[in-house]
């Protein structure tokens, strides 16, 4: 089985390096095929490993030593167990599909080869992240996906906004990574090892305070990668990258790494329910907060990004409340339908020549039937309508909130579910229904390549049926995760809740359709709604990016300039130069002594003699008086 493990892990790396060889040369479709093929190999290996794990085994290998000094010993160790194999499946499925899709999507791009190199490198990093058997290995993958995310967001590096977003994402993630690093240090100095099994076995013996701090710092790391408030701004900006990237990285895999970390570290978080509650509360807040921003946004990809953010909030609610398997399940289901949604959005973008404003589209359902169906179904899944994937995973999280008696969280999540349904179908309605507003802009939309749609179809299938895996999945992961079942005890309450939720969501969908399916103008900022305070607040993302810009970015630059021009040059360096100048000036001034006049030289000689003798006498006297 180790063989399959290595295949699953390194096939993407090989693909990346292969594509990288052609990085600077002109487009060759070979890179796309090879990279996709290797990804598929990786997927197959993961599937084999899944079947192996389902038969009750796990694979644990130690490839080689990485760092060893003092008491520290960090190997490159990989583990395929019930949790990581689920993640591997998600990662390989989505990335294989995205790779194949990208062959079409990036068809006309100059950086075709480069793109596949980065994309495969990302998959490799993600595999390292999920398969590592220790925190250091996790951190390798963690930073690796950050790097690839930077590369891919900034893929179109000629665009100022893209490179800016890439740097923002990297730096924000770095802030969180510091937290994670500190968490790792804490674990090492208290446990003496970074291996999961050792750490989780020992963690119970540590003082509560330390476990709490470990939990907090690790979660800070998770907050950055999963774009939780207040480090969330990068995710929306990251939509500058190519759409397949958004689908793979900023919806399905990388952003869920934070959730994966919390799920993986469940023995730690089990010990500290207070931190867990905080995580859940933050998750609920982010769910609502992000959903509210999605309501008014006019950028197709950003709407989906906010939706991702909102769903990540759901996952954190589940993870924070101790329902790790629920969180992981929603992660999986979400990966499928959100990736589908993004790929669909990619098709629309292609059709619309990179136009992102849904208000400028409309009526595309006629020209792009396939995409229309897929996006609608994905939105249905996202909204959590029975029997799609979202129903099984998302409603379960609502139930968890209810069963755990966190009614505030439950209410917030319920409200968010409604909002989710509303903005999802607002998008669908604006894009595919109503008048063909795009004609005003002289665009002639066309459906994407057939094979792209075919590539997307597995995702569609999974988005529809993922819920039916629930029990299989549950049986699998309870080997590793707490096996709490979340059932509302009272059957009546259960049915009222479920049906109520469904009705509420349907209502939201209906409202969205009613309001937007016959939209016929492009808003220009003159309507009463657009002038309202709340609209502006939401439109400007609660002014948070602006606040960051004003409070952190600009002052930092100013402070840096002051540090350089005022402090470094005018104080530190000037002091040094002043000392040197003082010595130089002394020399310049005493230069007259050497005026070449022997007579005055003789005089100076006598002065020196007198001084020396005075010193001799003074020291002698001093020695006799004080010394000895």
């Amino acid at each position: 089985m180790e063989f399959y493990l290595y295949i699953a892990l390194f096939a993407p790396l090989v693909g990346s390096l292969f594509s990288g060889l052609f990085g600077a040369s002109v487009k060759t479709s070979v890179t796309g095929y090879v990279a996709s093929g290797l990804l598929f190999t990786s997927f197959v290996s993961s599937a084999i490993l899944l079947s192996y794990v389902m038969s009750g085994h796990t694979v644990h290998v130690e490839m080689m030593t990485w760092m060893a000094t003092g008491d520290l010993y960090i190997p490159f160790g990989f583990v395929v167990d019930q949790v990581s194999v689920v993640m591997m499946m998600v990662v390989t499925i989505v990335s294989t599909i995205v790779h194949i899709y990208s062959i079409g999507y990036m068809d006309h791009d100059k950086g075709f080869n480069r793109f596949f190199s980065y994309l495969s490198a990302f998959v490799f990093s993600m595999m390292v992240l999920v398969m590592s058997d220790n925190f250091a290995g996790l951190f390798i993958g963690w930073e690796g996906v950050g790097l690839c995310s930077w590369l891919l967001i900034g893929f179109w590096y000629q665009k100022e906004s893209a490179t800016w977003a890439a740097n923002e994402a990297f730096i924000m993630n770095r802030i969180a990574d510091l937290g994670m690093l500190i968490g790792i240090f804490l674990i090492y100095w208290n446990v003496g090892s970074l291996q999961y099994d050792v750490v989780f076995a020992e963690i119970g013996n540590l003082p509560m305070v330390i476990v709490t701090w470990i939990g907090i710092f690790l979660f800070i790391g998770a907050m950055g990668k999963s774009a939780q408030f207040p480090l969330h701004t990068w995710l929306a900006d990251a939509m500058e990258g190519p759409t397949p990237v958004s689908a793979l990285i900023h919806a399905a895999t990388m952003v869920t790494a934070g959730v994966y970390l919390v799920v993986r570290a469940n023995p730690i978080y089990d010990l500290i329910p207070n931190v867990g509650l905080f995580i859940a509360s933050l998750g609920a807040f982010v769910a609502l907060f992000a959903a509210s921003m999605a309501l008014v946004n006019r950028d197709m990809k950003r709407i989906i990004a906010y939706s991702t953010l909102s769903q990540l909030g759901y996952m954190f609610v589940a993870a924070g409340l101790g329902a790790y398997w629920v969180a992981l399940f929603h992660l999986m289901a979400h990966a499928f339908f959100k990736a589908l949604l993004f790929l669909g959005a990619g098709n629309v973008m292609h059709a619309m020549h990179d136009e992102l404003d849904p208000f400028k589209m409309g009526g595309l359902g006629k020209v792009m039937k396939g995409t229309f169906i897929m996006m609608t179904l994905a939105s249905v899944a996202l909204a959590g309508i029975y029997p799609f994937a979202g129903f099984f995973s998302k409603d379960l999280i609502l139930e968890v909130g209810f069963v755990e008696h966190h009614y505030v969280i439950y209410t917030v999540l319920l409200l968010t579910a409604g909002l989710t349904a509303f903005y999802s179908f607002r998008l669908v309605a604006l894009i595919f229904h109503g008048e063909e507003r795009y004609k005003l802009f002289g665009i002639h939309p066309h459906e994407a390549y057939k094979f792209m749609l075919v590539a997307m179809s597995p995702l569609l299938l999974l988005a529809m049926i993922a819920g039916s895996f629930k029990m299989t999945y549950y049986q699998l992961v309870i080997n590793l995760l707490p096996s709490t079942q979340y059932h509302v005890h009272n059957v009546t309450t259960y049915w009222i809740m479920t049906i109520g939720t469904q009705l509420f969501v349907m209502l939201a969908i209906g409202f969205a359709y009613k309001k937007y399916s016959n939209w016929n103008t492009v808003p220009d900022g003159s309507s009463a709604m657009e002038k309202s305070f709340i609209y502006k607040l939401l439109w400007n993302q609660y002014y948070i990016p602006k606040i960051y810009e004003e409070v952190f970015a600009k002052p930092y630059l100013e402070l840096s300039k002051i540090a350089w021009k005022q402090i470094d040059l005018k104080i530190v360096d000037a002091t040094v130069d002043a000392i040197a100048n003082a010595i130089y000036k002394t020399g310049e001034n005493t230069r007259d002594i050497q005026n070449g006049n022997l007579s005055s030289m003789l005089r100076w000689m006598v002065v020196g003699l007198v001084v020396l003798m005075t010193l001799a006498v003074a020291f002698n006297v001093g020695y006799n008086v004080f010394g000895a």
């Binding site: 760092m67 060893a68 000094t69 520290l72 250091a136 951190f139 930073e143 730096i171 530190v572």
Partner: protein, 515 residues
């Protein structure tokens, strides 16, 4: 020959340099590369012959110079110095191989070979006076390189470099003389041998003074805040090769000397000054990172980033445990490779455009994709991405210091954020965006000569990031013995507590037994 390999390593380049005066101008380049290559192979042989399981000094050579005062020509390497020696020979080779300077090439190569002698000498010396001699001699070739091949302000920069570092080392010399005098008082014999000094247990107040004297010399060399201002000038004016050697090797002399002198000689003082120095190191890290962010000249960004990284090295050194000190020694190598490579890379565009201002560039990624890729890899290494060489060092240094102080490490950890900020913004300014300047539209990508220098560095940067063990292992063994020595020598209870006791571990050969 293996018995005298260190002497060979030190004086072979010097002899070759003297012979170089009679070599014709045209064949000088080939001659220089050949000499540097032989020297590099010799140093690799040293590594091959080095026994990684022994923690003490190896290949020791001794010859009396002034026996009355116990000054001997005493050489030896351990895991700490071995790799810095290899790094020196490696960088001299790469530097000469990728030389693009054509003005007075012969003199430049001869100067570089002399510089190589002094560098190897510093790291191989085990006698304080021999160490001091090489330490000061290393200033002279560098002075020439900056002063003769530098930019418009070269005279100012070179004199500043020379006088500043020279002043510091004079104080250090006084410290060394005092140290020898104490040794004389304690044992009745003069000795400048560092290994014999190791055995001396000094009273704490003496330690504090001597530590201060040594500190000044080392701190200016490192350079530590607020003694760092010579560095930007030196880098700003030096030719590419000068910057490369300066950043890669010469700065390491200071941090190496901390590990070689300050820690084992003055364990109590090291603990006493641990927090003040850590705070200085943190100021270095954050403050210079901010200054780097404000720079307009790409070379200055890297120069200030050097200072910032040196802060992490200092922090790791004063973690006073095996993880931290090993990490800092490793980071010395890592920073050498990465900053050396970055300076080489800056040299590439400087050769083409004769400017280093970032505002002159933009969009180079599309004009010079290979260059952008290599620069990107090195930038990511500098930022400290895992699986690159810098990460191992930074991780271990910070990990080590975390044992001593949580809050300070948290503050120092900001390095990974601010480091990313200045590096990414510099990269963005130079490589991203549209090509705005017409002069940049037809720049040539890196050529074969340049690749010859850069590719090995990329390989090393990734190889040692993925598999640091062959280097980290010997470093670890030697550092363990240093730490154990410090623990044994420490007198104050605080120092005993701060410096871990490793005697329970297997495989530790204490310094005394090794000799």
């Amino acid at each position: 020959m293996i018995d005298h390999i260190l002497t060979l390593l030190i004086f072979f380049p010097a002899l070759a340099a003297m012979l170089g005066f009679v070599v014709t101008k045209d064949s000088m380049r080939a001659y220089g590369i050949a000499v540097a290559a032989i020297e590099f192979i010799l140093s690799l042989w040293l590594w091959y012959a080095y026994d990684p399981m022994v923690s003490g000094m190896q290949f020791m050579e001794s010859m009396p110079l002034i026996p009355t005062f116990g000054i001997n020509y005493l050489l030896g390497v351990d895991g700490i110095s071995l790799f810095i020696i290899i790094l020196s020979t490696f960088f001299t080779l790469i530097g000469i191989a990728s030389l693009t300077e054509t003005r007075r090439l012969k003199d430049l190569i001869i100067t570089l070979l002399f510089l190589e002698m002094t560098m190897v000498g510093v790291f191989a010396a085990l006698d304080a006076i021999v160490f001091y001699v090489f330490w000061e001699l290393s200033l002279v070739p560098m002075l020439y390189i900056i002063g003769a091949w530098g930019g418009p302000l070269r005279i100012y920069a070179s004199i500043k470099f020379f006088l500043y570092t020279f002043t510091g080392s004079l104080v250090m010399l006084v410290g060394m003389l005092f140290m020898a005098y104490f040794y004389y008082q304690a044992t009745g014999q003069w000795s400048f041998s560092i290994l014999e000094w190791y055995r001396l247990i000094l009273p704490e107040n003496f330690q504090l003074w001597l530590f201060g004297a040594f500190f000044l010399g080392f701190a200016i060399k490192v350079p530590m805040f607020p003694f760092h201002t010579w560095l930007p000038y030196a880098h700003g004016q030096a030719p590419t090769i000068g910057s490369v050697i300066l950043a890669a090797i010469l700065l390491k002399m200071g941090t190496y000397a901390f590990v070689r002198f300050s820690l084992p000689l003055f364990p109590d003082a090291s603990v006493y000054f641990m927090f003040p120095i850590a705070i200085i190191a943190i100021i270095m890290i954050i403050y210079t990172a901010m200054v780097a962010y404000a720079q307009e000249d790409i070379k200055q960004v890297i120069a200030y980033s050097s200072v910032s990284h040196m802060g992490v090295i200092i922090l790791g050194t004063f973690a006073l445990n095996v993880e931290g000190v090993s990490g800092s020694v490793f980071l010395m190598l890592a920073h050498g490779v990465v900053s050396g490579a970055l300076f080489l890379l800056v040299g590439v565009i400087y050769d083409r455009r004769h400017t280093k201002l970032m505002s002159e560039f933009g969009g180079l990624a599309s004009v010079m994709p290979r260059y952008a890729t290599i620069f990107g890899i090195m930038m990511m290494a500098s930022v400290g991405l895992p699986l690159t060489i810098n990460f191992v060092g930074e991780f271990l240094s910070l990990l080590g210091f975390y044992k001593q102080s949580h809050m300070l490490t948290l503050t120092a950890g900001v390095a990974i954020i601010v480091g990313a900020i200045y590096m990414l913004s510099a990269y963005k300014k130079v490589f991203f965006g549209p090509v705005t300047n017409e002069k940049n539209r037809h720049l040539k990508d890196v050529n074969k000569t340049e690749l010859l220098g850069l590719i090995p560095l990329v390989i090393v940067a990734i190889w040692l990031g993925v598999y640091p063990k062959p280097v980290l292992g010997p470093i670890n063994n030697s550092v363990e013995s240093v730490i154990q020595l410090m623990h044994d020598k420490a007198q104050s209870p605080e120092a005993k507590a701060r410096i871990p006791d490793l005697s329970g571990k297997n495989g530790i050969i204490s310094m005394k037994e090794a000799h």
